[in-house]
Structures are given as C-alpha cells and as structure tokens.
C-alpha cells in the first residue's frame, strides 16, 4: 500500500524535494475548468443542430466513455503519480513508439483544443460587443488570435500564481450554471407555465447522435490533465481518483442538463441558428438580460480558463517527452528570469495561432478529440497489459472496478468513437499520428525508457 503521508518527503539530507501543492479542490478545478469551456458554452448550438434534443444522449455517451477511461486512468495515476499523465503510463506499459505517439499527440491535441476554446472565446467577445453596441474592432478570428498572443505572453512572463483565480473562476461558473440549470430546469418542466417547444427527440434519426458524440467529446478532455500534474497533487492516492472521476461526473451532468433545458426552451433549430453562443440566448429566455449577461460573462471566463489550462498542460506534456529524450532537450529549458519553460510554452502558443487562422471550429474540436481518444484507448490497453504482466513496482492504491470489462469497453469505445468523425478530421488526426510515429523513427529510435518508478 502506498502510504499517502510518505509521498512528499524524501528527507535524505541535501536531496532536493518537490512540494506537492494541489489539494482536491484545485485538482477538481483543473479538470472541471478545462472541460466546461466547451461543453456548455460552445457546443449546445452546434450539437442541437446536428442531433436535436437527442444531443443530450450524445453528451451522455461522451460521459460514459470518459468514465470508462477515467477509472483505468485513476488506477494508473495512483500507481505512477508522476508528471506526464497519459504519456507516462503508455510509454511505461507499451514502449517508446506508442509512448512517443501519445505524448506528441497529447501536446498537439491540447493545441487543437486550445485553438478551439479560443475561437469560442472570440465568438463570446464578439457577442459581448454586439450586446453593448460597440462596433466590432476585429473579426472573431482576430479576437481569438489576439487572446492567443496575450495568453501565451502571460504564461511565459507571468509569475503571479493564477491557481486561486482558477478556483475562483470555476466556483463562479458553477454558481452561474447552478442558478441557470436550477431555474431553467423547473422552467423547462413547465413549472412556470411555459410551453415547451414541441419537438421529436430524434428529429434527424439516431445516427447523428453518435457523430455528435464524436464532435462534442472535446468537452471531456480535461480529466486526464489532472493526471498530467499528478506529481504535484497532495495525497495522490486519494485525490487523483476523486478529482478525475468527480470532474467527469460533474461536467457530464451539467452538459446533459444544459442540452435538456436549451432544447426544451428554444428548440434545436433556433439553437443551431444561434451557433457557438446559443447558450446566451437560453439565459435570456430564462431570466432576461441578466441571464444573458451572466452566461456571456461565464462563456468568456470558461473558454479562457479552458484555453489557458490547455496551454499549461501542453507545456507539461512536452517536458515529459523531453525528460525521456524523445524530443530535443532544449525544449525543456526554463527562462531564468521568469522561471517558466518558455520554449515549451511557445511550442504550444505558436501552433495555436496557426490553427486559429485555419479557424474551422468543428474540425479543431474533432482533431483534438481524436488525438485524445487515441491516448484514452491506449491508456485502457496499458492497464490491461500492466495487470497481466504485473511488473515490479506496480502498486496502485486505487483498483479499477469491473476489470477487465471496464478497460476493454473503454478501449473499444475510445477507438470506436473516432469512426463517427468527419473524414477531414480523421484524415488530419490520422496524419498527425503517422507523423508522430515518423518522428520516433527519425529521432528517438534508440531511446529506452526506464521502468515504473513508484
């Protein structure tokens, strides 16, 4: 049994120690904060347009898949509470080739996700300008681009810790959503005498439910970022499983409720027309201008915090690769003045800017999901392999329940969901994964990776 109290201290005199500073709430905030930006504030309009009210099933499918992966990830993370998350598990269990693909895939997946969140942010900012009657200074793309530059700059030079800010943002988001969902839920059920928009549950048939699930899966990428900072989490055997599983359950519930309320109040056709910021009008329908303002503010905060969290996680992924010599050591250099890994942060920020110029929100979301689903599937496989081989030092304090059914289903569902994406996304995502394999063969063929350290 890994004794929790024994995790932080390595008190051999003169040895450097690494403080674990993230408790349960900050860990939950990392997971939730990375996720809510997309599921509630960008997708409802797009998803309802594709699947109708059944989009709530799409979100539920996503939650089930995320949960099937969060359980194995929890076991692996308590066995290896190290920085690097999914990359670390896969490289230790399945070798450097797949590890390299997952690691680079995680970095680029986060880059795509961050570009997607920032496009969402651009839409919200443009909406805000419209509401306030300010002439739009820039296009949505321009706004997203400006924010990407600003975020990257701040992440390199900012020395103030925004951890507390992140907790505060997530807390106020949950409060806004709680009010919105509570009041809106009663409204949607007709408590206040409102007529529901009459609509078939599956206006477009059942198949779009799955393609929509593939599209909106970007809403479930955050929990694995908790594993990326596993090395900094206090009492990891307790807090890792709780925060990962808890954040998936929390956001999954919020998403399904949001779609239920949105489609009940406005109908999916109108939602689809409203696009990325549809939720603002749902807020207006419930409590008028105040509701619209609250959700507009919420959308700005949520997309921004998701984008920021993704940039930081991307930089952590690059460090994990560099530590194992899978990418050149220069990328992990830390800037002496700001003590930030400026190369890795720029390697996140630069491609984000390029992707924003590309600008296709759905494709950005799907490629981000695809790269993560590849990792999720392999995380499940990694658990199956480690349980079978039971290598020395593998002593998880959390055991994945329902073994081997849960990881098997998790792997099949993760890989399977990719099949419902658009051909362009599959082509792009597949191409990126092939390129990562190419990188391994070109650069890192001779690398051997150490065993599991605990």
């Amino acid at each position: 049994m890994a004794d929790d109290a024994s995790h932080p201290p390595e008190p051999a005199t003169g040895q450097e120690e690494l403080e674990r500073t993230l408790g349960l709430v900050p860990a939950l905030a990392i997971g939730t904060g990375t996720m809510v930006g997309a599921g509630i504030f960008v997708f409802p309009g797009l998803a309802a347009g594709q699947a109708g009210p059944a989009a709530m099933l799409s979100f539920a499918i996503g939650a089930v898949i995320a949960l099937l992966v969060a359980l194995p990830t929890s076991e692996l993370a308590t066995a290896m509470p190290e920085s690097g998350g999914g990359y670390y598990f896969v490289s230790r269990a399945l070798g450097p080739l797949l590890g390299c693909m997952v690691g680079i895939g995680q970095w680029l997946g986060l880059v795509f996700a961050s570009a997607f969140y920032l496009m969402g942010f651009g839409h919200y900012l443009a909406d805000l300008c419209r509401e306030l009657g300010i002439p739009l200074p820039l296009s949505v793309t321009g706004l997203a681009l400006g924010m990407a530059l600003l975020l990257t700059g701040v992440s390199v030079t900012g020395t103030e810790n925004t951890g507390d800010l992140q907790n505060w943002i997530v807390g106020s988001l949950l409060a806004i959503l709680g009010g919105f969902l509570g009041h809106g839920g009663l409204d949607a059920l007709g408590v206040f005498g409102r007529q529901q928009v009459p609509e078939a549950f599956f206006p477009y048939g059942t198949f779009p439910v799955f393609t929509t699930a593939a599209l909106v899966f970007t809403s479930y990428l955050g929990f694995v970022q908790i594993a990326t900072v596993a090395g900094e989490i206090k009492n990891p055997s307790r807090n890792l499983p709780r925060s990962m599983i808890g954040s998936v359950l929390l956001v999954g519930t919020l998403y399904v409720l949001t779609i239920f309320i949105s489609t009940s109040l406005l109908g999916s056709e109108q939602l689809a027309e409203l696009g990325e910021t549809a939720i603002v009008n749902v807020g207006r329908a419930i409590v008028g201008t105040f509701g619209a303002a609250a959700l507009l503010g919420g959308g700005l905060l949520a997309t921004l915090s998701s984008a920021n969290a993704s940039i930081l996680s991307a930089s952590r992924s690059i460090y994990a690769l560099s530590r194992d010599d899978l990418v050149p050591p220069q990328v992990e250099r830390i800037n002496k003045r700001y003590r930030t890994p400026h190369v890795a942060l720029l390697l996140a920020g630069g491609p984000i800017i390029a992707l924003i110029l590309f600008g296709r929100v759905e494709v950005l979301a799907e490629v981000a999901s695809l790269l993560h689903l590849f990792m999720y599937g392999l995380i499940c496989v990694a658990l199956l392999v480690l349980r079978r081989t039971d290598p020395e030092g593998y002593a998880p304090s959390f055991r994945c329940p329902g073994y081997p059914v849960v990881p098997l289903l998790g792997a099949v569902a993760s890989f399977g969901l990719v099949g419902f994406m658009t051909p362009l996304s599959i082509l792009l995502g597949g191409g990126i994964l092939l390129a990562t394999a190419g990188w391994y063969l070109y650069y890192a063929r001779t690398v051997t990776i150490s065993g599991i350290s605990s």
Binding site: P9, N161, Y319
Partner: protein, 257 residues
Amino acid sequence: MTESVPSPSSILVDVELPDPEPLAPGLTEMLSSLRVVLLGWYAVPEQTSPEQARDQFGDEARAALAEIAQDFEAAGAEVTPRLVFTGDKFDSLGRISREEHCDAVLVPTPMDRDHLRRVLVPLRGLHNARRIAPFVADLVQDDTTDVTLLHILEEDETEDASRADVLEPAAEMMREHGIDAGLLRLDARATDDPADTIVERSGEYDLVVLGETKPSVRSILFGSVPEQIVRQAQVPVIVVRHEDVEAEVAERAAQAD
C-alpha cells in the same frame, strides 16, 4: 525513554533560493545553540513543473543552501538542511516544520546587528509560557542576553495580579530551565491594543519571541494575532509553535513522575 543529553530546541529558518536575503550576523550567532532546520525554498510558478525546475536549477540551489548552512555550522549550530522546489512556500514551511518537529519558526527582518542582547517575550498566559520557557532557555545559553517578560493586562486585571498570576510564575519557569535570574526583567502593561503595544516595545529590543495562537505555520504569517506583530516589528521575530500531541504526551508523562 530518557535521554542523557537532551537535544536542543529546534528552529525552522527559511531562505529563498537561489538569492537569499542575508541574515544578520548576530542572528546566526544567536541561533547557534539550537538545532537549525534550514529550509531553502525555490519558488516555482504554476507554469513550471517543480521537477523541471529541479532538473535545471538543482545544483545552483544546493550550492547556495550549503553556503548558508556553513555559516550556521561555523557558529556552532547543528544544521539540518532541506531543499524544496515548491509552488507554495507555506505548504513547504508547514510540512517541514511538522516533519522535523520544529519548536519554533524564525521570521527574519533585515537588520545589521552583530550581537543580539535584548530579547522581548510577550506572554498571553502561563500555558503560553510553559512552551516558551525551555526554548528561550536554549536560545540564551551564553548568559549575556537580557530577557524581558511582557504581559498585557486583561480587561480588569491589576498589575499586581498580573505579576502574581503570570509574570512571577513564568519567571520561575524560566529560572528552572536555567536562565540567570539576574537577566530577567518583568513588565506588565495595560493597553487597548496589545499588538500595537508589543510592536512599539519591540523597537527597544533585538529580538521578539512569542507563542503561536493557532497550530499552523500558515497562520503565523497570515491572519492570526501575532500576524500584526510579525509584520510590523522592526526586529526579527521567533514564533514558538503550539505543543504537538507528542509534546503533550511527554509532558503528561513528566508530570506523572
């Protein structure tokens, strides 16, 4: 269970790395009779994994810490160095003071005195003094340092009552622990604002030693009664920690025989 040579009281001294604020030479000398847990902390922003910072700055930080440890060792202190890469210095301070069972924590103030001769010990009550007395005794072993016990009167407490109930018994405790009676001064004062009075009095001393109000290091430095004193005092402050469960058990055992 009984130790023939009791180990000296321990104090947590934290220094920021790699460029620590220099400690006053007199302070290093003053603490030399104690076991000094020297915590060097290297602040890591959230964008950076502490591990990554350790990989790059570990050597530099270790060298800087070793230099300070040498100063203390040269003055005769028993030094336990700890080096932490941390995103939250208070987490590290709290954890290490617990792990090392530190009796007290130093809150240094930049000053330039070669010898510390006058120590102010504000007391809240006898319970408070019980914990502080052995520490102060270890601190002033060279018998050249004046120790002033200061008690702020409760609302309708008279000065005589304060002397009889708190100051005299506290002084007796100090003497029992080996402090020279000739070096002890007693001071009872009435005031509306205890913290302010203590801060004001501290200007005439070289060092303040006071007891912690809450059992956490974070609260020493943030939001508790001594906070104001710690922040405003012109001289270094040593905060003597609450008794741990361990110490209480030991005390009960001692009272039993």
